[in-house]
Structures are given as C-alpha cells and as structure tokens.
Amino acid sequence: MLEARFESALAQRSAPENIYIDMREISERGMIDLRGQTSDRKFTAAARAVLGTDLPKEPRTSATWGDAKILWLSPDQWLITCPRGKAQDLTNALVKELGDTHSLAINVSDMRAIIRLEGEFAREVVMKGSTLDLTDGDYTPGTVRRMRFAEIAALLHIVEEKTIDIYVFRSYAHYAWDFLVKAARKGSEVRLFPNSG
C-alpha cells in the first residue's frame, strides 16, 4: 500500500496577496494535549522527565525546551508543540512515564491549524477580531491566551514581539484565514497609538 497522504487544513489556500502583514500556515508542528494536577508531584516529575523542563504553572505563559514548547492552557492542561514527526513518540513517552498517575496525554497534532502572523502590525490585525489589548505590556513573547476571535474560539501565542501564532480548530481554519486576510488588507491599516514606537 502507499504511504499515508498528508494534507494540512489550509493546504488548498494560496498565499495571500496585498496584505500588510506576513501570514502563513504552520503545518510542520505536532501537538500534544496534556492533562494532570500540578499538586501531584508524581505527575510534574514525570512530565519534567520527558519534556526536560517544568510545566509552566503561571497562567498564560509558556516554556521552551529544545524544539518543544509547552503552552499553558489551564491550571491542569497544557499544549505541547514539537516537530510533527516527533509528536507520536513524545506522546508515547509521556504516557509511559506517567503510568498510573492520574493524567491524560493525547496526540492532537491534527486538531488545530496554526496561522502565523508576522510584521509590524500583526498585533493590530488580531485586535480587529479580538477584545484583548495586545498593545498592553502584559503580552510579552511567550504569552499564551485562549480567546474569542471573530466568531470562533482561538488560542493566541505571542512567539516574538512581532510574531504571533493563532491556533484554531481545524474545521474553522478557512474561516479564520479568510477573516485575517480581510483584516490585514492593505489600505486598512489602523496604527494604534502611532507614536508609541
């Protein structure tokens, strides 16, 4: 039999033109949903043993270890991202290490689509669809926050000052993409607090 054929959520969308930020789908990342209680030392130790770093406990933060990132989703839930090819092995390693500890680790690499926004105005484009104040100093690189975006649920990850990843459930990927292309249309720049530098 042939090898399994891979098609990401936005594989059929062409690169947008005439927009004032850079925008693309990140399809090469795998994702693992991890549940557990931070009060359970066995759980935190097992996670650390596999991931190489502590799970971030501070709300809306993330941690990085090598090519993996751990995004805080909830006091008992994290999203681990890693190169797609490693996701299943990493999930298996977690499941094995966690053993009987009350936890749940699932490979959810295909559940969400990631759209990367880059550029001077990445934050303002997101703010056309979100009530969050991304000009606030709280939104430093590494910040993670779930939010309502346009009419759907999304996960925001400030990767760098001018680089933002938006995670949306796969079925909404086209909707989110089309919204962003419209919001980032050249000529619709807002320039919030234009002198703020």
Binding site: M1, S103, M111, E151, R170, Y175, L192, N195
Partner: protein
C-alpha cells in the same frame, strides 16, 4: 431656488480657494471648494432649500453646524453606494460627489405633498393616531402605503454594498470624547500624567468651536490655542486620536462604540483598500465627556423657513467657509454669545441687526455691539417671519418675559435670521448608561449630575461656558482620570495659559416668542423641526391629558428619529413647563438612547459579511464533496454533504440510489463531524454512570455501548456510542451538533458537583476524520485495503473496537452501525483523512462503493427506527417517551435526570409516545411536523394528539414511512389516525412499531 452666490470674496479658514471641486446636487452640477461641506458648497451657490419637512412638507434649509442638523438631510452617493439621511453639514465635499435632497416629490421646488401644509389644521399632534384608526381593514392597503409614501426620509440603496467595513478594538486608560479646547486640554493633562488616552472627535478637524469663540489665551487666540494643543497631543506616544469618528454609545463598565467614517470623504482611500467605515469597540478606564453644548433654536412663528439658522452655525459659515448666510440678517438672541455672530457678519460686510429678548443686556459683548453701531432691539422678539420658501422680512415686537401675545410690531426686511436660545450641554452619552442629570437655572438647561460609572464631563458638556473655567476644569478632569485609573500620576502637569475673555451677561429663558393674535394662532412655532412638532402640538397634547413627558414624546413624536432631541428636547420641555405651570425639573426629561447619531449597518456587520457572515466548519473531506458536486446542508456550523447527485439526477433520485447502495452494496459516509471526547481517570466509569441513563462501568475494554443522556429535567439531550479504550479510559461519541455542548456539560458537573472525582475530559473531535463504511460488502472493502486485519464477525463483532493500520493509515475502527447494515466506522488523524477517503473509494470501486450523504443516512436510520435527538425529541421528551425504557437503569442510585423522571408531571398518563406510521396510501409521504388530531373538523381548532417527527419515502420498502410522537401511542397499535393538512386534505395512517426494516437486526451482524 437658486439666487445669488453667497461666497464672500475673502475669508474661510477651512477652504482652499485654489481648489475648486465639482459635485452635483439634485442632478445639477455645482462647484464648491476643497474644505467645504456639502451644506456650505450648496449655500455658496445660492441655494438655501435642502429638503422638505416630514409631515407638512414645508421647505427647509440648513439650521446647524454639524451633528445637530435636523433639516438638511441628504442622500449621498450613487447606486450601490447611495446612503440616505446624512446631515449635509457633516458631509465633506469631494470631487464627483453626487447628492440628492429627500422627502420631496416630484422635485424640491415643486412638491405635491406641500398641500399637507395648506391643510395643516387637520394635522395636529397625534394626527396619525387620530386619523388612521378606522376601519381597520384600511390599514394594510390604504393608510400605510399613503403614510409611507408621503412621509419617510431617504431611500436605502437596493443593491449589494460593494465596500468593506471592519471593527477595531481599543483599550485606553482614559477616553476623551470631543476635541474642542476642553477635550484637548483633558487629553493632554491625562497623557502627561501617564495615562493612555484615546481622543475621539466627530469632525475632520480638532478644535471644536475654538475658532468661533471670543477671548485670548496668553498671546494666542482661542483658535490658535486649540491648534497648539492639538499639535502637541498629536506627538504624544500615549495618545491615539480619532477624527471623523462619532462616539455613538456608552454602555456598562465603560464600554463604548464609536463610528469612524474612514473613507466617506475621499473615494481614493476606498480604492486603496480602506474600509468605508470602522466601528470602534472601546473599553475605557475612565471617560471624559467634552462633547460641548449645542445651541438651541427659539420657537417663533415660522421659525423653520430656509435662511433661519443657529447663530453659531451662521458664524462658522463665514469664518470657516467664507459663505454668508444672506445679504442682510437679523440675529435673534436671549444671550451674549450670538453677538459674536453679529460682529463676524458685520466684519464680512453683511448687513446685520440684533433682536435681544432681554430688556437690559449687560455683558461686554452687547455693549461692544452698541459701540460698534450695530442696531440692537433690546427687550424685543421676532414675532413672525415673512416669506414662504425663504425669509423676506421679520416682524419685531416689544416683549417682556411671560407675555402671551404681541400687540404692536415693526417689519424689517432681511433674508436670513441667526437665532440663539442658549446652549444645551450634550448629555447623550452621559445618559446612555443611566447617568443622572439636573436642571440648572442659570443655564436654563440640564447638566450632568451623578453617574455610576467612572465618567466625568468637562467644559460645555458640563455647562461651563467660559474659556478660562473650561481649561481649568478640563485639566483637572484629565489629571483626576489618569490618577483614578493608574493610582498615581507623574509629577508633570500641563501649564494653562492666562485667559482674557468678555464678561458674560445672564441669559434670559425664552421658550416661546409670542406672535400676534391668540396663543400661537395660525402660526407654526417649531420645536422639533425634523418631526414637524410645534409648540401648539405639545400644548395640545397636554390639554388632551398626555401629562407624562414620555407620553407626550410618543404622541407627538417629539425628540425622536435621527435628531434624538438634540435641538428640540429642552425647548419642548420649556413649552410644556409654561403650558402646565410646572418647573422643568418636574416635567422630567425623556431618555437619550444610543446612538448619538446614526451609524451604518455596514459598520455594525464589520468584516462579518458574505463568506464570513457565519463561521462554516469544514471536514477534512470538504473539498472532495464540493468537487463531487455534493449538495450541502448545515448541521450546527458544519456543512455536511446532503447528497451527491450524479449528472441528470435530481436530489430525490440520488438519495434513493445512495440508500440502495448501502442496503445492497456498500456506501461511504463522512462522519467526521461526530463529537469525540476522551474521558480518563480512576473515576471515569463512575462518572459516566452519572452522566448516562444506562451503565458504563460494566462495559468491557474494547467494547462499545450506545448511551442516552438527559438533562436534570429528565429530558433527552444527546446520545451516542461510547467505547472503553482501557479500564480508566473512554472515548465518547456525541451528536454532531452536541460536541461542544456535551464536553462543556461534562466539565461543568466535574467542576461544580462531583469535584472529588479524578477524571479528565478532553474533546478531540477535530483530531479525527471519521467515515462510516456501511453495507453488506463493507468488510470486503476493508479487507482489500488491509488483508492482514481481521474483520470477521468472530474477530471483530458488532459493538467492538480495534486500532491498527488500514492501507498505510493509522486508524481506530469501531464496528457500530446507524444504518442497520454491517458497518465499520474508521477514524484516522484529520490531516490524513482525505488520503484515506480516496484510498477507500479506490478500494471500494470493484464492490460498487458510493458516497452517501446525510439524507440517505437519515432514511436508513428511520427504516430501522433509530431516533435522532432533535427530530424524535424536542427538549421535552423523556427516554420513556421514545420507548427506550431499557436504557434507563433501574439499579443505579443516581444519574442526571433520574429523579425528575419520577416527578408527577412526567409520570402522568397521556404522554406522547414514539410510534411508527404507515400511511394508507403507500405513496403518500406525510409532511414533517404534521399534526394528528383526535377528530377531524371542518376548520381549526382541532384537538391535537401528536405530531410527525420523521417522514420519508423508503426506497428499501418501496413505500412511505414515518415516525411520530402520539398520545398513548404504544397502546394504540393498529389504530388509524388522521392528519388534516392545508387545503382540507386529510391523510390517514396506521400506528405501528417504529422499526420498519430488518426487525430482528440480522443484517448488522452479517
């Protein structure tokens, strides 16, 4: 109505005389200047008439300066871009602008409706209520069309809007509304104190009315002061300035909406990709209202004639646009401010005199006027205006306060009047969210009082009219706002200039200028110009018993429509006060509601139009369905393939073909939308026993079980197959529409009721593409894809589960069936879904595989009597009602909804029960939702005993089948019941069991 051009030879701070601009008004090409508004450009050309009034069709001209304009409503733009009801005073001129007047037929100068005016005695307040009452049948075909044609404002475009709109969110410590000297000062003060400030102004240029305000600030004029602050503010890093933006509404917790006209003034911006309008959704820490005050008209006879303007508007026309309101005018006032207009007119070479209702005006400005040899009639009023389509003369009468009628009067020729009845603080935003206001006698108007939100008013909006006091108050407001939000402020403070300004004399209240004859007889003293409400109408409403101001408002329509009482409210209250002898605070005030001025539907919709109107969810196979020509149906936000018609097939035939393909060969269904939730933990089994009506703790690992879920009321809310992946690990399937709801439902109970349970719930719906391969040859298709996999009944019986590989794809396979056929549901990670789907279609070719859609799925399940939550249940249906008693555990002590099933009202007799129906005529398909009645009568009402829940033509059985909820249905097997349909037709059907096909279920296990 064209006369001489009124453009002055010099002056005009906002116009550029080197840039003429061509535009059209009512089909006529006119020329204006860059910087003009539509109002000033048209008036400069000599035309004063802009439209006709709502009820009487009286000719009307420009009255105001900006948002308060109530007469000159115009339609701007052509075709799809036409927008009605814009205030000509706010429309910025651009080359090629097309505009039309409104509310006239057939043309502006000759208007058929003007005959209303001749018969205006018959159009008193409450006219519509009094006249169009009887007979009722006349409403639809006679009265309503008449009213709609005769009244009404502009017409909306009837083509699709070609432009883009958007929303933008912004958060600011301090939001300042209004960019006059108060707003600018407050902005600067708050910003240098360290706050992030958003300044909003509805005009294209900041400064408010600084340029038409008297006084000196340091060495500068007030106008220059405003410019200097605006320039400083524009450079601050913590300030965002929005011009051409109207703060439309103020809501709870300092949420605000503001409407930005991004490209209305410049079509080139639209072409470059700008949104036409942008709706700002604002969250403010503190709000400062520096919205200023609006001048109010005076009610004198025929005060609505074209050429009668507010004094400040007349002044601004000269100062800003170099346009004279006429050649010879009368300024009519009860306060000092309007004298500035007289000075400006005189300086521009326009003949002018002043009529002042005050017997002894004592301020600096009246004294200056007299010194400047401007003729002033003190202690006088205008008693009537002569001229019908414009002003030809006014009569001036001696007056003392409280006087009801005029005895002697003198006539003075003139062609315009500039009036000022005082100023009303703009309190709309203050009142939107429940702010209290109080009457100020010196101001003869309302001022802000208390407010539950962090909001303050400064300057004119607070009733503060002096420049010096405004600056002090605004600076303090800005600092205090910054401090209240940030806790502490930077030491830096702004320095205020020393202000010199004329000393003001007191204003004298003047609600109504008497005319000759009896009170108001034969003359119209307009209060609400836009709604054609006169002083007499309000007085009549009082006499007729409409004592509450809220009732008067609705009876007379005063203060409604786009005007929202901007110019009419206080004057109306003043007239009511005089009519009743009650002071204004006792009359009360009608509520101001958002928006301050109307904003476009486009801006409300924002970007969410067309493809973005509703989020549409796509399965990984979506594009295949599209390419295959599928007809789609919405299931929640999903789009699912309903059927796949082949060339030449209608939907009916393709559905039948798909059903028979599943029954006889094999079909493939995209079931990716099914909800999937992983549930894991030592208490997972016990938790599921609480959630489902039936028991899951007894389920063996690797096995599947169908479960029913109720809410606490005992009503069915969801169903689906749950698989035990491991001792402490389950995979729950929910309905497609229920996935999010059920995941949230499980979380809710875990977090709020059974907090001791160690259970994790993680929704994984979207991780998987899932397909049903159903039909007698399903096993052969799978075996071809993966010869080593054991698909036999023995190795893989119905209701069991396996993981493995299928044609190179990692899969979870569930042997479950919603069609009644041998059936496997295969799940693979979503990004591999399309590949696997193609592989199955390819492998299935030789077995006659075809895709089937949701309609075939529904018929297949109905043939088997399987329920669908939402079809056979309606939110008041119990498991007993649908005959699933066997799935309601008798052993479990407690599960969600159990106790409610014991409540008397669910245990009583005559519940509707699920049954099958076979129509007497096998070709007759009952309509969905058809009512069964106890006895058929000639006409309703008939007693209903139930309704059809699912109904289809079954190609398998070659006859119609239906399911229905019928009163005591299970006790009525074999009974024939009647369904009266529209048009007198009655369909009869026999009650049967709900399973129509393969009653012993052998095919599932085949």
């Amino acid at each position: 109505m064209s006369g001489k051009p009124y453009r002055l030879s010099k002056g005009g701070s906002r116009i550029d005389r080197s840039q003429p601009i061509s535009f059209s008004f009512d089909g006529k090409t006119l020329s204006g200047l860059a910087g003009d508004t539509l109002a000033t450009a048209v008036m400069a050309s000599g035309q004063k008439l802009f439209g006709r009034s709502f009820k009487y069709h009286r000719p009307r001209g420009v009255v105001g300066l900006g948002a308060e304009e109530m007469n000159a409503l115009v339609g701007v733009g052509a075709g799809a871009r036409h927008e009605p009801n814009l205030r000509a005073t706010q429309v910025e001129l651009y080359s090629g602008l097309t505009s039309i007047s409104q509310n006239r037929w057939p043309s502006l100068s000759f208007d058929v409706g003007a005959f209303n005016s001749l018969f205006s005695r018959f159009f008193p307040g409450g006219f519509y209520y009094k006249t169009f009452m009887w007979p009722q049948a006349f409403w639809k075909h006679v009265y309503e069309p008449f009213i709609r044609r005769a009244a009404g404002l502009g017409k909306a475009a009837d083509e699709r809007d070609p432009d883009a709109y958007e929303h933008m969110h912004i958060h600011a410590d301090v939001v300042v509304v209004g960019g006059g000297i108060a707003g600018l000062t407050a902005t600067e003060a708050a910003a240098v104190s360290g706050a992030r400030v958003l300044l909003i102004d509805e005009n294209p240029v900041l400064g408010g009315i600084a340029d038409i305000t008297a006084g000196k600030a340091g060495d500068s004029s007030v106008a220059d002061l405003a410019k200097e602050i605006a320039a400083r503010v524009a450079k601050l890093p913590n300030v965002h300035v929005l011009t051409r933006t109207t703060a439309a509404g103020h809501y709870h917790h300092n949420y605000m909406l503001a409407f930005e006209r991004v490209a209305d003034h410049d079509p080139a911006l639209l072409a470059a990709g700008a949104p036409r309008h942008r709706l700002w959704r604002i969250r403010a820490g503190h709000v400062i209202l520096a919205t200023g005050a609006l001048e109010r008209p005076i009610a004198f006879a025929n005060n609505d004639r074209p050429g009668i303007m507010l004094a400040a508007a007349a002044r601004a026309m000269v100062e800003r646009y170099g346009v004279a309101p006429g050649t010879s005018g009368v300024v009519f006032t009860n306060n000092d401010d309007a004298y500035l207009t007289a000075f400006v007119l005189k300086k521009a070479g326009v003949a002018v005199r002043v009529v002042d209702s005050r017997a002894r005006p004592e301020g600096d400005l009246p004294k200056l006027a007299m010194a400047d040899r401007i003729e002033v009639d003190a202690g006088s009023v205008i008693s009537v205006v002569e001229g019908s389509s414009g002003v030809t003369a006014v009569k001036i009468a001696a007056y003392r306060r409280g006087q009801g009628r005029v005895i002697t009067e003198k006539k003075v020729a003139c062609d315009f009047v500039a009036m000022s009845g005082g100023f009303n603080p703009v309190l709309h935003l203050w009142c939107h969210n429940g702010g209290k206001i109080r009457f100020d006698d010196a101001l003869a108007s309302f001022r802000p009082h208390t407010h539950g939100d962090a909001i303050t008013a400064a300057g004119g909006a607070n009733g503060t009219m002096s420049v010096a006091e405004t600056l002090t108050e605004a600076a303090a407001a800005g600092e205090a706002a910054a401090k209240s939000v940030n806790g502490k402020v930077k030491a830096s403070k702004i320095k205020l200039p020393k202000v010199e300004e004329p000393k003001r004399g007191a204003l004298e209240t003047l609600w109504f200028a008497p005319a000759t004859g009896k009170y108001n007889q034969g003359n119209k003293h307009f209060i609400d110009f836009q709604n054609d409400v006169t002083a007499a109408d309000l007085e009549l409403a009082q006499r007729e018993g409409y004592e509450s101001v809220e009732h008067t408002k609705r009876y007379t329509t005063f203060g409604m429509a786009t005007d929202q009482g901007k110019t009419s409210n206080i004057n109306g209250l003043g007239v009511l006060s005089e009519a009743t002898g009650k002071p204004i605070p006792e009359i009360g005030i009608t509520t101001f509601r958002p928006p301050y001025t109307p904003y476009s539907f486009g801006s409300i919709a924002g970007a969410l139009t067309k493809d973005l109107f509703l989020p549409v969810r796509r399965t990984p196979i979506f594009q295949w369905h599209v390419d295959r020509g599928a007809v789609f149906e919405p299931v929640g936000q999903w789009r699912r393939a309903y059927t796949y018609p082949e060339p030449g097939e209608d939907k009916h035939r393709s559905i039948n073909r798909e059903i028979l393909c599943v029954r006889n060969k094999v079909g493939l269904l995209d079931a990716s939308t099914l909800g999937k939730i992983e549930i894991k933990g030592p208490d997972a089994a016990e938790f599921l026993d609480r959630m489902y009506t039936n028991t899951f703790s007894t389920l063996k690992v690797g096995k599947c079980r169908y479960g029913l879920m109720m809410n606490e009321l005992g009503f069915l809310t969801d169903d689906g197959v749950t698989v035990r992946l491991d001792e402490d690990h389950f995979l729950m399937h929910t309905t497609s529409g229920g996935a999010d709801r059920i995941a949230a439902w499980l979380e809710e109970w875990l977090q709020t009721e059974w907090t001791q349970y160690k259970v994790f719930v993680t929704p994984v719906t979207e991780q998987w593409a899932q397909f049903a391969i159903a039909g007698p040859r399903a096993r052969e298709v799978l075996a071809k894809l993966e010869p080593d996999f054991h698909f036999s009944n023995e190795a893989f019986p119905h209701m069991s589960f396996k993981t493995g590989k299928l044609g190179g794809y990692p899969v979870r396979i569930f042997r479950i069936s919603f069609s009644g056929e041998q059936s496997y549901e295969v799940a693979t990670p979503a990004n591999l879904g399309r590949g696997l789907w193609d592989a199955i279609m390819e492998a299935g070719k030789e077995f006659g595989i075809a895709p089937y859609g949701t309609e075939a799925l529904h018929v297949l399940r109905a043939e088997k009597g399987y329920i669908v939550i939402g079809d056979e249940t309606d939110g008041t249906t119990t498991p007993y009602d649908v005959g699933l008693d066997g799935l309601v555990s008798k052993k479990k002590a407690d599960f969600i909804g159990k106790r409610s099933l014991e409540q008397a009202y669910l245990k009583g007799p005559n519940r509707k029960q699920l049954v099958g129906l076979l129509t007497e005529d096998p070709n007759e398909v009952l309509p969905d939702g058809a009512y069964a009645v106890r006895t058929v009568k000639d006409k309703p009402p008939m007693e209903m005993i139930g309704q059809v829940t699912s109904t289809y033509m079954s190609p398998t059985l070659n006859r119609s089948i239906a399911m229905a909820l019928i009163e005591n249905g299970r006790a009525r097997m074999g009974e024939v019941i009647s369904f009266p349909l529209e048009g007198g037709k009655v369909v009869k059907a026999k009650i049967t069991g709900a399973v129509f096909y393969d009653k012993d279920g052998g095919r599932i296990h085949a």
